[in-house]
Subunit: 193 residues, 2 copies
DNA sequence: GGTTGAATTGAACGCGCGTTCAGATAACCT
DNA sequence: AGGTTATCTGAACGCGCGTTCAATTCAACC
C-alpha cells in the first residue's frame, strides 16, 4: 500500500518528528526504538528512512530546530536592562511552558548526541546564555543590578526558570500569569533591583 | 577462577555499584549494558547477578541511597529562618558538588524506574522539597521573607541550586567557597531578606 | 590434604535492535 | 489506458541485549 490519499510525504514527515518527540521525551532516546516510532506513525520501520537519515539525526534535528526557534523568538528589546530582563524572563517561561517535551529532550539527551552534533547544540545553547549574560552585564555596568558574578548568575537564573517545566501543570493551583509574575519577582530581587 | 585474594564479595559489590554509577551518568541507563558494567568491574556479566537482582534494581538502589543520604545529612538547625536557609543553601551546593554523577542520575533517570520504584524515589524527593518549604514558610510567617509563593519558591530555588552541577568545574575560575557565597547572595535576595 | 562452599566463568536462551532494499501499490500525468 | 514515480511494505542482515545456570576454580577450614 502506498499513496492512499493525496501526498503523504507532507503528512508523514511531521508525524515522524512528532512521534519521535513524544516518545523520546517520555522514555528517553536510547529506550525508544525505530519500530515504536513507526508504530506511532502507523507505518513500518523502513518507511521512517524516507524522512530521516537515521535515529541520531532525528534527535539532533529536534534539538537544533528547538534551539534555533528559541534564539529567533527573542531579541533583547531596545530598553533599559531591567525591562530587558523582565522580557527575557517572561519569554523564557512562556516559550518553555509551551514546549515541555522539547525542553526536556534538549536538556536530557545531550549525551546521546554524536560529538559533532553535540558541539553544534552546545554552541546554540551558549548563544542563548550569552544573550542573558549580555543583559546582566549591561545592568551591572549601569549600576541597576548587583549580581555576584554575571556568568554564574546567568547559569543560576536559566536553571531556575527552566525548572518551571518540571512542576507546572496546566489547570493547577497557579495559572501561567501568576507563575510568570512570581518568577519575575524572584529574579528581579535576586539581581538586586 | 574464583577467590583469588581474600573475600571478593566485599570488593566486587561496591565496584559494581561504582561502575554502574559512572556509566549510567555518562551514557544513560538505557544506553548502558550489563556487559559494559561487568567489563568495567573486570568480571563476566553473569557475576553481576550475585550483587544485584537485576539492572533496574541497580539503578533504583543508587538513587534511593543517594536521596536517603541527602535527607540524613541535613537537618534544619535550631535557628531563625534566615540562618536555616543559608545552612540549606550551602549544604545543598556542597553535597551536590561532591556527587555530580549521583545528582545527574537522580534527576535524569526517573523515567527509567518502574512505577513502584518511581513512587518511592519521588516520595524521598518530596521529603527534601518539604524541608526547604518548611523553612520558607517559617520565614514568611515571621515576616523575614517575602516570596510570592512558598511552593513555587521551593521549586525555583532547588532548580537554581542543583543547576550548579551543570557548569561548575573543579579548578575553574570560581572556587567552591565563591560559588557557595554567590548562590547564597542570590537566594537571600530572591526571598527578600 | 581432602572437603567445602563462595565466587566466577562461559555458554546459552529468545528477543528486539538499526538499517537496507527489492518489490508492491496507488495516485498522478499524458 | 498506460507509464511514471512517490510512498510504503515486509523480510532480511548481523548483532547485542538481560538473564539464567551448570560447571569450574580456589581460598579457607578441618
Amino acid at each position: 500500500m502506498a499513496r492512499k490519499q493525496g501526498s503523504h510525504a507532507d503528512i508523514t514527515g511531521p508525524k515522524v518528528r512528532q512521534a519521535a518527540l513524544r516518545l523520546f521525551a517520555r522514555h528517553g532516546f536510547a529506550a525508544v526504538s525505530m519500530r515504536q516510532i513507526a508504530a506511532e506513525v502507523g507505518v513500518q520501520a523502513g518507511a521512517l528512512y524516507l524522512y530521516t537519515a537515521d535515529k541520531q539525526t532525528l534527535l539532533f534535528e529536534l534539538m537544533r530546530d528547538h534551539l534555533e526557534e528559541l534564539l529567533e523568538d527573542w531579541q533583547a528589546p531596545d530598553a533599559d536592562p531591567v525591562d530587558q530582563l523582565e522580557s527575557f524572563v517572561r519569554h523564557h517561561i512562556r516559550f518553555h511552558l509551551d514546549r515541555p517535551e522539547l525542553v526536556f529532550i534538549a536538556y536530557m539527551e545531550l549525551r546521546n548526541l554524536t560529538p559533532g552534533n553535540f558541539a553544534i547544540i552546545e554552541g546554540l545553547r551558549r548563544d542563548y546564555e550569552d544573550r542573558l549574560e549580555a543583559v546582566l552585564k549591561a545592568g551591572q555596568a549601569s549600576g541597576r543590578f548587583a549580581v555576584p558574578d554575571t556568568k554564574l548568575a546567568t547559569m543560576a537564573l536559566i536553571a531556575m526558570l527552566t525548572g518551571v517545566t518540571t512542576w507546572y501543570r496546566e489547570g493547577g493551583r497557579l495559572d501561567r500569569a501568576a507563575v510568570e509574575a512570581a518568577y519575575w519577582d524572584m529574579v528581579r530581587k535576586a539581581v538586586g533591583t
